[in-house]
């Protein structure tokens, strides 16, 4: 049932309320409610009234706004800004109240113009555009922009830009709410089409002027700091004033003026900062260049070449120093630059990669192409010093630290296979001679190596441990075997049995005259090991690794002397005579010439024997005057010292192993791929060998040639850069 309604009377009372709401005058709650119900009544009475009240309301808003426009005439600059802002704040909040008062009208009109089928009979539907009609609040904003902004836009924008410039200059800092409020009043269309463009232009101009001023008034260090502050402040300013859509544009305008367009100047100074390692300045410059696309390129290059230059200089100076000096110096370089990366470049991953690359180049640097890179060997030697008994008394924590240092450098070593060779050689010596500080420390080190290079890399080293552990059991079982069989050996005998594949045993043994006492022990042990412990194995004794303890009773004092097997063989001869010619010793002991010379010279050096030259040749006399402070001592064997030839032998062996490894890798890749082009093959081979060594392209090519010759693969006839696998 529709109530008939007196539109004119209702509008007259509504009009008064509308004015009060718009001017934020207090409106009684009852009047507010009545007005809402009046609007409701009008809306439900007829659709004609809906349009009428809508238009009346619009008329009223226009006249109200036009009134405000008049109020603002004759006011300029700062005063205009202030007054405009006051009116705007009042009007915009009034309009939002008004909009909620007209909620029902808004909703009815939305229905009428909506595509809802129940309103299809309405004359407007589907002929008008489909967009929802403007609500009262939107009408208010539209009219505000059309009437007031249209009138004052030039002046307003100028004043605003001046205020923003003041803020940038930090003079007469404007009130943030005021500036932000006025900008907000512009509405989307005006903001985007007029204001933003002006703002960006002004920003560019301002920073061009500012740049000139900063360049003039500061040195480089001050300049970059000032620029950094400028950019930070501008970022803050964006948050304070502008719409979020403009933030990145304004910032970009600022950054491009201050840094991107200055990149040559910045890069030019960068070299100097890097050279002097000025951490604060570098950090500041880094933060600036980070903002520029691709801006860090030159800086990265400078850092890389700087680390390389400093590092290589150090390596050259260390060429003839001890391995401890070398490791310490390397650590110092690596620490120095990792601190630089951390402090100046905030652990930026790009810089960390560059750091790794440069340190790798330093560690694998060799003074000339003919001298081999010594890093792998030196590190292995250093590790040997750490793990050898009696070299230094380090605490567990210190030792662990030093082990980690080795690992830190080891990561960068290219020739990881070479390191393994040396390491296993030293490890074997430590284990056999019982010379490790502790097996736990040894295992800890191997565990660390395993983390970097994987299981396969350390499996041999692990096997060596297992052998040593097993041997404890073997020896105690051997002595119970002796008890059970009631065998008494005159020699206190123990043995280490090694698995031949795992240990670096490549020295050939010399024969020697085995004394009968010892021979009985040896055969008893062999019998025990090969029949009662393991079947199907045979033992090969390695006298050059075995040691003997001799009791010498011919001197004023009795001595216990630790000797090599060969030294023992020689000394036992002197039970029968006091002097022998060299030739006789050779015949009696059956030692090879090389071993004999070495052994005799070591005994001579220890002053146990005295060499006498005569016409028939050299002879060796037992030194009966020999004396030593200690009753237990060891005769150094000269064979322990390595000749440089031995080291080059290791290198050439490594070279052979690498060739085999590369061939196997290539075959494996080709077998799975069947057809592959040259470059991808190289890439895969390098990827698969990086944990052992970094193969040179030449070597890979040589191996490919070898495989082609051996008919494992062939060149594709059509395409020369492709290879086919031959099954």
């Amino acid at each position: 049932m529709r109530k008939s309604i007196d539109y004119d009377a209702t509008w007259a009372s509504l009009r008064k309320v509308i004015f009060d709401v718009l001017t934020l005058k207090p409106v009684d709650r009852i009047i507010w409610s009545d007005s809402i119900s009046d609007i409701y009544s009008i809306c439900i009475s007829s659709s004609e009234y809906i349009e009428r009240i809508y238009n009346d309301c619009k008329e009223f808003l226009i006249s109200h706004i036009t009134h405000i426009k008049k109020e603002l005439t004759g006011v300029y600059s700062q005063a205009l800004l202030k007054k405009y802002y006051e009116y705007w704040i009042k009007f915009s909040s009034g309009a939002s109240y008004l909009n909620s008062m007209f909620t029902y009208l808004n909703r009815s009109r939305n229905y009428m113009h909506g595509s809802d089928s129940s309103y299809e009979q309405m004359p407007y539907s589907s002929q008008e555009n489909e967009e929802l009609p403007a609500e009262i609040g939107q009408i208010a904003m539209q009219q505000w922009q059309e009437i007031i902004i249209e009138e004052y836009q030039v002046e307003l924008v100028n004043v605003l830009l001046a205020a923003i410039e003041n803020d940038r200059k930090e003079e007469n800092i404007p009130v943030a709410d005021l500036v932000q409020g006025v900008i907000h009043s512009f509405g989307k269309f005006f903001y985007q089409s007029v204001f933003e463009a002006r703002l960006l232009e002004e920003t560019k101009n301002f920073y061009a002027r500012e740049l000139a001023r900063l360049r003039e008034s500061y040195d480089f260090s001050g300049f970059i700091k000032a620029v950094k502050n400028r950019i930070d402040a501008e970022q803050h300013r964006c948050q304070k004033f502008f719409h979020v859509s403009s933030h990145s544009k304004v910032l970009k305008a600022c950054i491009s003026r201050l840094t991107a367009e200055q990149i040559d100047y910045l890069n030019c100074e960068c070299a100097r900062l890097v050279k002097n390692e000025l951490i604060d300045d570098l950090n500041c410059l880094y933060k600036l260049l980070r903002l520029v696309d691709n801006g860090l390129k030159v800086m990265l290059q400078e850092i890389e070449s700087h680390i390389k230059r400093i590092g290589k200089l150090l390596v050259i100076n260390l060429f003839r120093k001890t391995c401890e000096d070398y490791v310490n110096a390397m650590l110092k370089v690596s620490d120095r630059f990792s601190t630089l990366i951390q402090q100046a470049f905030e652990e930026d991953p790009e810089f960390k990669t560059i750091f790794g690359k440069a340190i790798r180049a330093v560690i694998n640097h060799s003074n000339s192409s003919s001298t081999p890179i010594r890093a792998a060997e030196i590190l292995a030697r250093y590790a040997d010093i750490l793990l050898k008994k009696g070299s230094k008394n380090w605490s567990d924590a210190e030792l662990d630290d030093k082990q980690s240092h080795v690992i830190n450098l080891f990561k960068y070593v290219d020739d990881k296979d070479l390191f393994q060779k040396f390491y296993s050689k030293f490890l074997a010596k430590r284990l056999i001679m019982n010379g490790s500080i502790s097996l736990d420390a040894e295992e800890e080190m191997i565990k660390k190596l395993k983390i970097i290079c994987g299981y396969e890399y350390t499996s041999r080293l692990h096997q060596m441990f297992t052998d040593i552990r097993l041997n404890e059991g073997v020896n105690s079982e051997f002595s119970s075997y002796l008890n059970k069989k009631n065998i008494k050996l005159t020699v206190n005998f123990s043995a280490s049995v090694l698995q031949s594949g795992a240990w670096p045993l490549n020295q050939t043994s010399s024969p020697y005259s085995i004394p009968p006492d010892l021979e009985r022990s040896l055969t008893t042990f062999e019998e025990y090991y090969c029949t009662s412990l393991h079947r199907g194995r045979k033992l090969v004794w390695l006298p050059y690794l075995s040691t003997a303890e001799l009791r010498m009773t011919y001197l004023k004092k009795g001595y216990y002397v630790t000797t090599t097997t060969y030294q023992m063989a020689v000394l036992l001869l002197y039970n029968n005579a006091l002097s022998y010619t060299g030739r006789d010793i050779a015949t009696w002991t059956q030692l090879t010439e090389k071993e004999l010379i070495r052994t005799l010279s070591s005994l001579e050096a220890a002053k146990i024997l005295i060499k006498e030259n005569s016409r028939e040749g050299n002879s060796y006399k037992l030194n009966l005057e020999f004396g030593n402070k200690r009753t237990k001592f060891k005769i150094a064997s000269s064979s322990i010292r390595e000749s440089p030839q031995e080291i080059t032998k290791v290198h050439s062996r490594i070279e052979e192993e690498r060739k085999l490894f590369l061939q196997a890798t290539i075959v494996r890749i080709m077998k799975s791929r069947k057809v592959l082009n040259h470059n991808s093959l190289l890439e895969e081979v390098i990827k698969m060998s990086v944990n052992r060594f970094s193969p040179s392209i030449v070597l890979i090519k040589k191996c490919i040639e070898l495989l082609i010759e051996k008919d494992y693969m062939k060149r594709n006839e059509g395409r020369q850069d492709e290879y086919n696998y031959i099954a």
Binding site: G536, L550, Y554
Partner: protein, 86 residues
């Protein structure tokens, strides 16, 4: 006696006691391991059959698996295969 041996700490390496150098199945030397393994030694041992032929344990097991269950023969001499127990 002027000099006597008190103590001797011997070092020896062990090898397989075999008639042939290579495994008859994989043709790899017994001193090295079968193609599946990385390291020779305890993990890749050698076994003997009653016919006295020997192979890598991995190789002979693979062979026996590929054979008929009733008809397991030594790949070298075709006698029926029995592991030799010492």
């Amino acid at each position: 006696m002027k000099v006597t041996i008190q103590k001797w700490i011997g070092v020896a390496s062990w090898k397989w006691q075999v008639n042939d150098d290579n495994c008859g199945i994989c043709r790899m030397p017994f001193d090295s391991c079968c193609p599946e393994c990385k390291l020779p030694g305890d993990d890749c041992t050698i076994v003997w059959g009653e016919c006295s032929h020997c192979f890598h344990v991995h190789c002979i097991l693979k062979w026996l698996q590929s054979q008929n269950y009733q008809d397991q023969t030594c790949p070298m001499c075709r006698q029926s295969w029995k592991f030799k127990t010492h």
